[in-house]
Amino acid sequence: MTDRAPGVAGDPPIIAFESVTYAYPESAAPALREIDWRVAPGEFVTITGPSGSGKSTLLRCLNGLTPHFSGGTFDGAVTVAGHDTRRYTPRALARVTGFVFQDPEAQFVTSRVDDELAFGMEQLGVPPLTMRKRVEEVLDLLGIAALRDREIATLSGGERQRVAVAAALALQPEILALDEPTSQLDPWGAEEVLAALTRLNDDLGLTIVLAEHRLERVVSHADRLTLLDRAGHIASEGRPRDVLAGADPAILPALLALGRQLDWQPLPLTVKEGRAAQRRDAAVGRLPAPAPPDPPAATGPAIVALQRVSAGWGQRKVLREIDLEVRPGELVALMGRNGSGKTTLLRLVAGLHRPASGRVLLEGADTARLHPADIAQTTGYLPQNPSALFFAETLRDELAFTLKHKRGAVADPEVTLAALGLAHALERNPRDLSGGERERAALAAVLVGAPRVLLLDEPTRGMDAARKRALATTLAQLREEGVAILLATHDVELVAEVATRVVLIGDGRVVADGGPRAVLSGSLTFATAINKLYGGGFLTPDDILAGFGRDRWAGSDSIRADLARDDRITPHRMR
């Protein structure tokens, strides 16, 4: 019922930042400003903050990549396990700090899983017997023993992420730094990785520093939470419960947001704690009115129809006999494990993948007879890797590319960028943007074409809570305008907020299809935190507040106002 006890508070810090200010080359504004920060040995610290607030930069200071690799202006000092990072190179600090990058694929240097785990140890001259023992240990620790002999190219995103964590752990570092390690994982995969990290922290005393947007996943695992603001300052830090009790509602996960609204004391960090608070409420008769049922399913002609579609990659069948119809104004969330076929389904609709059998119809036309460029006149497709969308020198040119090849109605580029919080980035190279900004820039490049069918593959990856809610607002607006949206995601909270329909895919087949309350409620893996507390059809904090006859949660409005202030616009429809 309490925050996790800090590791060994009072000991000399294993990480110490002394007045660190850092600016990237050719950047006027520092990414980090006057950071004084300490971590005790054995602590589990989570760093959070808006996109571009310097979380990754701060993490990179822990192994000297900042400033040794990135250059720029570095003032102050960072000491890790007694090593001043100004004097030691990242390769020398590899013994001290294990590092897991945001994109696991980019960090692999061999082709096989066990070779990848051994790579760092070979560089450091670890004896072969010890090496083999450690490889076995980390394989078991991360639950990936079955992957030992696999080619990395054949692994799913979640499996790759766990291999990347295992490769860092194999060096037995004193500190493990992870940059959004669960951003590409489904709920099961994320929980497995976090459980493994907690075990390492508890049993081995490993110091863990983790940057993450998705607080709902990590906050209960952390001893301490450090919150950065957009200017690169530490806005607040301390025990997660204390920091979040006073934090801007915009960054709060659903459970904490509800706790704040209902004045639960102490503020619940886990569903278990929330359930205790909810039982206390129930004991005094404080129960919400039943949640309304899902609105009736949309009717009318489908704009997208999959008829007994099977598809795969080579011999491997990914989708089997799928029947699915999507109508204008519907937002259909596609959910399922990593590798369940969500991406393949989106690619089929975009015409980038041909079905092995069955038909994909777009406005009644068989997409097999259309060129993807013609299909793109109706659809907008945001792939999982947003960087693949960027060709131009500036974001302005990027949007112009879409407009040039689009016939019919289009959106205003500047309004589109402003609505996504990117008005400031119009003349910047898209590849120079932060992870979350890139995701939004890619979305802008798609939305500016005013598609009637929007296909989004994990669009909230690397996106902070405020931007995620802004995206939810944008999607709701598009839906109201009659755009049909297919959204592949693991983000149940986003789905609960925006979806009109949820399709669960398992083993390549549709295993459930219905309204979000019907499909998500009571699900062991896809239920939201709020649903786990209240059951019924309750999915979001707003459902509960409405049940108590109270106003909507203030967080959404404060976020919209905050974003509008940032971008000097008032939120409005893009078209």
Binding site: R91, F108, Q123, M131, A153, H371, P372, A388, F391
Partner: protein, 345 residues
Amino acid sequence: MREPSRPLDPRAWLVWATAASVPPLVGRNPWPLLATLCAVLGVWGVWSAGAAGARWRPLLRLALLFGAVSVLFNLLTAHVGDLVIAELPEGWPIVGGPLTLNALIYGLLSAIAILSLVAVSATLGATLDWSVAIRLLPERMAPLAVAGSVAWSYLPRTTVALTEIREAQMARGYRPRGLRDAGPLVMPLLAGGLERAMITAEALEARAFGVPLSAEARPRSWQAALLLAGIVAALTGIFCVALGQMLAGAALLALALATLAAGLLSGRPAKGALRRTRYRDPVWERPEWIVSGVSAAVLAVQITLLVLDPAAFRYEPYPSLTAPAIDLPLLAALGFLLAPAAVRP
């Protein structure tokens, strides 16, 4: 004898690749070129099944395209030879003048040479276990080897990136129309490649790649000089061979081998110094003996012929088209380049 999925030891593959690369590198005689191409494609056909082969197949298609371009380029720009097949107006820049059969044939032979070399590379790419190869190299060369392996892995990754970019462009309404629309592909491909290179370099740094060895193991200046001299001798030797100075070339290559070996062996770390270790011990069994032994024999035959009878490899269709020399022992020897196909279970 060996489990079906076990790849051959990289050293065996490298000996084979060296032997298979000699004919396309040293001459344009069509008979050894065709014999080598057939043998290499035979090995590729047997060993390229599965995902690894699929990743490298686009490279072969690309080589075919470059080969076709080279034939066309040579035909249109080399206005030399005794057999004129057509004439373009003299006033046309570069391409104006007689088009000769000689130029067409030389272009074709160059295309075969290019395709052979690319097929050797693709076979290595699909079959070579680079992590094992890296571990086999002398410790001094480990950083170079890792850099090489990363660069090597970029080839298939680049084809994947190319597909991603084309798809992303089409998904935004762009319809590529062949070579003239290659421009919009090149910049994002280069930018993406550079970005990936930076991330990979960061990851290598963060994972202790190139961590300094102990002070005792650091190379002394004379060891570095030996290595440098070896590399210079090797390059000069290759140049001499290419110019037809076979004896001088062979002598320089032998000197390079000796110098490099001396430099590398003398640079071994002192006892107790930090040394890189190997996770997996290499496997060397009968198939490796067969492939490396046969390939080494083919290589020996080629070197002997290069010294004694360079015409076996050489052919010049200019200024007059003549019949190329046929060296049956050489062609028979090149047939043994099929050895890897024979030992595949």
